[in-house]
C-alpha cells in the first residue's frame, strides 16, 4: 500500500499545478479587474457580459448549437435504427465506416467543406454544369450549421445505435406476436427504449457545438462570432484576460447545466459508452 503513495505522487503534484491551479487562475481573473490602483475584486466582467451585444452572441451560439443538434437527431436517428436493424448484411463494417469520420481531425473535415462550398468550388461547378443556380452559403449561418452537423453527426448516431442494438429482440417479437404493427412496435418499444441513447447523443452533439470556435471561424468567416470565438478574441487579440476568463466560466457553467439537465433524463445504461 505504501507503493501507492510514492508512485502516484508525481502525478498528484502535476495535477495540482497543471489542472487545478490553471482553473483557479481562470476564476481569479474572472472576478477581478486591473485598475491603476492595482487588482481588485469585481464582478464587472460578468456585468459586461450582460450587455446586449454579448447576450446576443450567447443566444446565437445556443441557437446554432440547438439547430445543429436537432438536425443531427433527425438525420441520425433513422441511421441508427437502420444500422441496428435485423435486415442488414455486413453490419459490422458499416458501423466501423460510421465510426471512422469521428477519428478525422475536425480541422481537416471543416477545411474540406471550405473547398467544396467556395464560389468556384466543386459544388457550384457541378450545379452550373447541370444548369442549376449557384449556392453561396460559405461564410453564413448555414455553412456553420452544415459544418457542425457534418462534424458531430456520428456523435449522435453511435450512442443511439448502441442502445438500440441492446434492445432485447424477443420483446419486439412478443409485441408482433400479440398483433402490433410495425408502427406500434416503434412507438411502444423501440422509441422509449432508445431514449437514453438519444439523451447522450444530444449531449455529445450540443456541447462541442456550443464550444467550437474553429468551425465558425473557417466556415463563418473572420467576422463571425460565437461564444468560442469571443473567448479566443479576448486572449489572442483584445488581451482582456479578465473578460475572457469570465466568458470561460460562463461557458463551463453552461456545460455543467446542460449536463445536469441531460443526466436527469439519463438512465444508468445510457449511451452504452461509445466513447
Amino acid at each position: 500500500m505504501k507503493r501507492g503513495r510514492v508512485t502516484t505522487f508525481p502525478y498528484i503534484v502535476w495535477m495540482l499545478i497543471f489542472i487545478l491551479v490553471p482553473l483557479v487562475l481562470v476564476l481569479y481573473y474572472a472576478v477581478t479587474v486591473t485598475t491603476p490602483a492595482g487588482t481588485v475584486f469585481s464582478l464587472q466582467n460578468f456585468e459586461k457580459f450582460m450587455q446586449p451585444i454579448y447576450i446576443k452572441v450567447l443566444v446565437r451560439s445556443i441557437q446554432l448549437a440547438l439547430v445543429s443538434t436537432i438536425i443531427c437527431l433527425l438525420l441520425g436517428y433513422p441511421v441508427a435504427m437502420i444500422l441496428s436493424g435485423r435486415d442488414l448484411s455486413k453490419k459490422n463494417i458499416l458501423v466501423l465506416l460510421f465510426v471512422i469520420p469521428m477519428w478525422m481531425n475536425f480541422l481537416l473535415r471543416t477545411y474540406a467543406w471550405m473547398t467544396l462550398l467556395e464560389k468556384k468550388g466543386l459544388i457550384n461547378t457541378v450545379l452550373g454544369f447541370i444548369g442549376l443556380p449557384q449556392i453561396n452559403i460559405l461564410y453564413t449561418d448555414s455553412a456553420v450549421i452544415l459544418g457542425m452537423v457534418y462534424n458531430f453527426l456520428p456523435f449522435m448516431v453511435l450512442p443511439i445505435f448502441s442502445v438500440m442494438s441492446k434492445i432485447d429482440k424477443s420483446i419486439i417479437e412478443a409485441a408482433e406476436d400479440l398483433g402490433s404493427n410495425s408502427f406500434t412496435v416503434f412507438r411502444k418499444i423501440t422509441l422509449p427504449l432508445s431514449l437514453p441513447g438519444v439523451v447522450s447523443g444530444i449531449t455529445m452533439v450540443f456541447m462541442p457545438a456550443l464550444t467550437t470556435f474553429i468551425i465558425s471561424k473557417l466556415l463563418g468567416g473572420s467576422q463571425y462570432t460565437l461564444i468560442g470565438n469571443l473567448i479566443e478574441d479576448q486572449f489572442m487579440r483584445v488581451y482582456d484576460w479578465n473578460f475572457g476568463s469570465a466568458l470561460s466560466i460562463i461557458m463551463m457553467l453552461l456545460i455543467v447545466i446542460s449536463m445536469a439537465v441531460m443526466s436527469r433524463y439519463d438512465r444508468e445504461d445510457a449511451g452504452g459508452g461509445l466513447f
Binding site: Y11, V95, M102, W103, F235, M252
Partner: protein, 281 residues
C-alpha cells in the same frame, strides 16, 4: 421496398460523410490549382511540402512533442495508476474526479487556462509550454487505459511473488508490468494519437516560432485554400486513421460495433452519468 429506401438513405448519409474528405484527397493529386477541374495526376503538392520550411519545422515539432509528451505521460500515468489502484475508495474518487476534468472540460477552456498559468508564472510560451500542455491532457487517457488492466490483475500474483522472496520492485517489474503491458501500450498509442491530432490546446499554449502541423493547416486555411494543405491533410488523415485503427483493434474484443475508440477500456468520456456511475473499486 422499405429495404431499398433504407439502403438508399444509408448510402446518402455515407456519401455526405465521406464525399468531402474523398474529394479533398483526390484533389491533392490534381495538377491544376483549381478545386473544381481535374487537370491530371501529379505529386507536385506533396513534393512542395518537403521543400516548405514552415511545414517541415511544424512536422518536426509535432512529432517531437507527440513522442515526448506521450512517453512522459505513459510513465507518469502508469505509475499513478499503480498507486491509484491501491488507494482507499475515498481518495481514489477524489483523484479520479480531478483526472476527468481535462477530459470533460471544453478544449478551449483547458487551452486558455494553461496559457494563463504559463504567462502568469512568466514561462515563455514555446516548445516547453506546448510539451507541458500535451503531457497534461495525455496523462488522464493513460491512467484510464491502465486502470482496467490493474482491475483484471489477480492480486495474489504479486503476493505470491513477494512470498517467494521478490523485492517489491522486482515483483513489479517481473509480475505486474508484464500483465498490464497491453493497457500501457494502448495508453501510449492513444496519447500519441491525441497529441498528433490536437489543435485547440496547442493553439493557445504555443509561442511564436513553434508551430504544429494542425496550427499550420489552420493558419494556411484562414488565408484561403491551397492544394498544399490538401496534400498535408491527406498525409495527416492517413497517419491518424492508421494509428486509431491499431488502437481500435487492440481495445476491441469480438464486435467492432460495441468497441469504438476508447469504449471498452474506458468509461464514457462524454457522458457524465456513466462517469459518475463508474464503479471505483
Amino acid at each position: 421496398m422499405t429495404k431499398v429506401i433504407k439502403k438508399l438513405y444509408l448510402a446518402l448519409v455515407f456519401m455526405f460523410l465521406y464525399a468531402p474528405v474523398v474529394i479533398l484527397i483526390v484533389f491533392s493529386f490534381n495538377s491544376s490549382k483549381s478545386r473544381a477541374n481535374w487537370a491530371g495526376f501529379t505529386l507536385k503538392w506533396y513534393l512542395d511540402l518537403f521543400k516548405d520550411k514552415q511545414i517541415m519545422s511544424s512536422l518536426y515539432y509535432t512529432i517531437a512533442v507527440a513522442l515526448l509528451a506521450s512517453l512522459i505521460a505513459t510513465i507518469m500515468g502508469t505509475a499513478a495508476a499503480l498507486g491509484i489502484h491501491n488507494m482507499s475508495r475515498f481518495k481514489k474518487s477524489i483523484i479520479m474526479n480531478i483526472t476527468y476534468l481535462p477530459v470533460l472540460n471544453p478544449d478551449i477552456v483547458t487551452g486558455i487556462s494553461l496559457m494563463i498559468l504559463f504567462i502568469f508564472f512568466k514561462i515563455k510560451l514555446g516548445f516547453v509550454t506546448l510539451l507541458l500542455a500535451h503531457i497534461t491532457f495525455n496523462v488522464p487517457y493513460v491512467i484510464l487505459s491502465v486502470l482496467p488492466k490493474l482491475k483484471q490483475l489477480n492480486k495474489h500474483l504479486e503476493e505470491a511473488a513477494l512470498d517467494l522472496g521478490a523485492t517489491p520492485f522486482y515483483a513489479l517489474r517481473k509480475v505486474i508490468l508484464p500483465e498490464i503491458m497491453p493497457g500501457v501500450v494502448t495508453g501510449f498509442l492513444l496519447a500519441f494519437t491525441l497529441s498528433l491530432d490536437d489543435f485547440i490546446i496547442s493553439f493557445f499554449t504555443t509561442g511564436s516560432g513553434v508551430s504544429t502541423l494542425s496550427i499550420t493547416v489552420y493558419s494556411m486555411a484562414r488565408l484561403g485554400i491551397n492544394p498544399k494543405i490538401n496534400a498535408l491533410s491527406t498525409l495527416m488523415f492517413i497517419t491518424v486513421l492508421g494509428l486509431l485503427l491499431i488502437i481500435n483493434k487492440r481495445t476491441s474484443g469480438n464486435s467492432i460495433a460495441k468497441n469504438t475508440k476508447e469504449q471498452k477500456e474506458m468509461p464514457n468520456f462524454y457522458n457524465p452519468s456513466s462517469i459518475e456511475g463508474e464503479p471505483l473499486p
